[in-house]
Symmetry: C2
Subunit: 327 residues, 2 copies
């Protein structure tokens, strides 16, 4: 295992300390590093709290700040945060308008956020994301997995909360964005969990895992590495078939790197994906390219398509000031 | 070779097309993809033009936009742009205040930017960056290599040009920032140039290349992989010794990923580097963490330290709106 670490036990703590120090103008660490919260809270708005296993950086702590999340709870690598962490985060950022949990659909995350919602005081509601079309059930979830589309839910609902939307409205908006958002990923290599020390799975020199999950969970099929256009075409087909979009519908295209794939390849994949989606009748009105929902050092990428209407577009365009997304 | 590509000959063209389409609100591609330029030019300011071999994305095209570059010329992977490209870029963005070339110190880049300066009409001046303390001469350069510190020169001079600094002032500022900026990198794996198809160099399972160049050029020594703190300490020592900073001096710390290293490790390295620099008497007043000056898919990172004064700090903080840097 070749990583920049001091000890496998302290990877998360040291990385969080670095994150908080590098972005001290935006975020603060909670006691015992249980959560990352905004420096400046607005007690009149709905507070958004997300979280999940670490190893997907900058998700979620990188999205804490004006226009997006109020707090994020980092679990150990690929492990859900504890109910205790989530309760403390909710209590630290809750104002008068209630708290919205945004939770990726994994069994551990669902359970721990549910327990936290029962324990914490005040009004709490939850939106669950499940945008991954690759598989219907997986190693870690009943139903579809929540993956890169979670960023889009967090951005759009975050903007709406900033503009004063109430808790019920945020839930309805989050669910609407989630149902209009689909993702699918592909891995060229495995990731290596620090505590394990060896790759989570193995792929042949000429193989890829189509439909891989963000923890290295199996996807649809393991096949020979194909050309970028063929990969983009297969993923675009899976997404568009599932979205059932009208011809000419406007969409946001998000090409996400898994951590080991460089920018030059991500833009090449964006170019391929855009053509494949336009061929199927979508109009790409907004774009995001970068490694935002990663799987440690996995080489690979995912495509996410989110159908836009004028409300979603305006909320996507709304200013955001976080460590990882700024405009 | 496992990459998202269609053919080794079209990697750059397809990636540039994707980049230009994804950021059509900010940039436009020149004819035959010779350069990337801002959509909105300001003919009264000094125009900044940079460029170099591709494979370092988002450098330089990702830094084209308000507050930074006016145009960037992408050469083929790890190959200088041609004089012809640079001349066309300069002519496309030149206004009344002249053009400043910002050039990393590699023999090919130096030669081609010099030829372009002779051919192009109008006033042209050049700043050469050479921030890499690892080696005094290298495979591709006489004198030190220009690496991640180039981003800092482009950001600070870009802000000054936006505020109306004239050409002579931009040259003096760029040279001053360059002399106050030092970098050094370390590789855990090689990169693979698409046209070559095999890794540029090989490292044992437990080895790292200390002082590696951004094209995989040899560094100071090949040694056993060490703990993050030990790596950060060695690089911090090399940088501080060379900078000759007074105790308590304010500095910008930039931890840069080489393309194959994920965000969780970069923040851990930031945490280590910050401690090692503070131990040596520097005060970290500004920070940047991310993969901005990459070496294709190389796993590794570099540390850059740039001494700040009130002028440099204000220019660093000045708004910037590019694909890769926004605040």
């Amino acid at each position: 295992m070749k990583k920049f670490i001091n000890s496998v036990d302290s990877v998360l703590a040291e990385s969080l300390d670095g994150f908080a120090a590098a972005h001290a103008d935006l975020v603060a660490l909670g006691a015992e590093r249980k959560f990352v919260r905004r420096c400046e809270l607005n007690p009149r708005k709905v507070a958004l709290v997300s979280g999940g296993g670490s190893g997907h950086e900058p998700l979620h702590a990188g999205f804490v700040g004006y226009g997006m999340l109020d707090a994020a709870c980092p679990g150990q690598v690929f492990t859900s945060p504890t109910p205790d962490q989530i309760v403390e985060a909710a209590q630290a950022v809750a104002g008068d308008a209630g708290v919205l949990f945004i939770v990726k659909n994994y069994a551990g995350d669902r359970m721990n956020f549910e327990m936290a919602a029962e324990i914490a005081e005040g009004r709490i509601a939850t939106v669950v994301t499940d945008d991954d079309v690759a598989v219907e059930n997986s190693t870690h979830s009943s139903g579809r997995r929540g993956v890169a589309g979670t960023l889009i839910v967090e951005k759009i609902v975050g903007a709406a909360a900033e503009k004063g939307l109430n808790l019920e409205g945020c839930v309805a908006l989050g669910e609407r964005v989630n149902t209009r958002t689909r993702s699918m990923g592909v891995a060229l290599t495995s990731c290596t969990v620090p505590a394990a020390g060896t790759p989570t799975f193995s792929l042949g020199e000429d193989e890829m895992e189509m439909g891989v999950g963000i923890h290295g969970e199996p996807g649809r099929r393991r096949v020979k590495l194909e050309r970028a256009d063929a990969i983009a075409d297969e993923i675009a087909a899976a997404i568009v078939q599932d979205l059932d979009a009208r011809a000419g519908a406007e969409a946001l295209l998000f090409v996400n790197g898994f951590g080991g794939t460089p920018t030059i390849e991500l833009y090449l994949m964006y170019n391929a994906a855009r053509r494949m989606l336009e061929k199927r009748g979508l109009r790409i009105a907004r774009s995001l390219v970068g490694s935002f929902v990663t799987s440690l050092d996995m080489a690979g990428c995912s495509l996410t398509v989110s159908l836009l209407d004028s409300e979603a577009t305006a909320l996507w365009d709304h200013p955001v000031r976080t460590a990882a997304l700024k405009w």
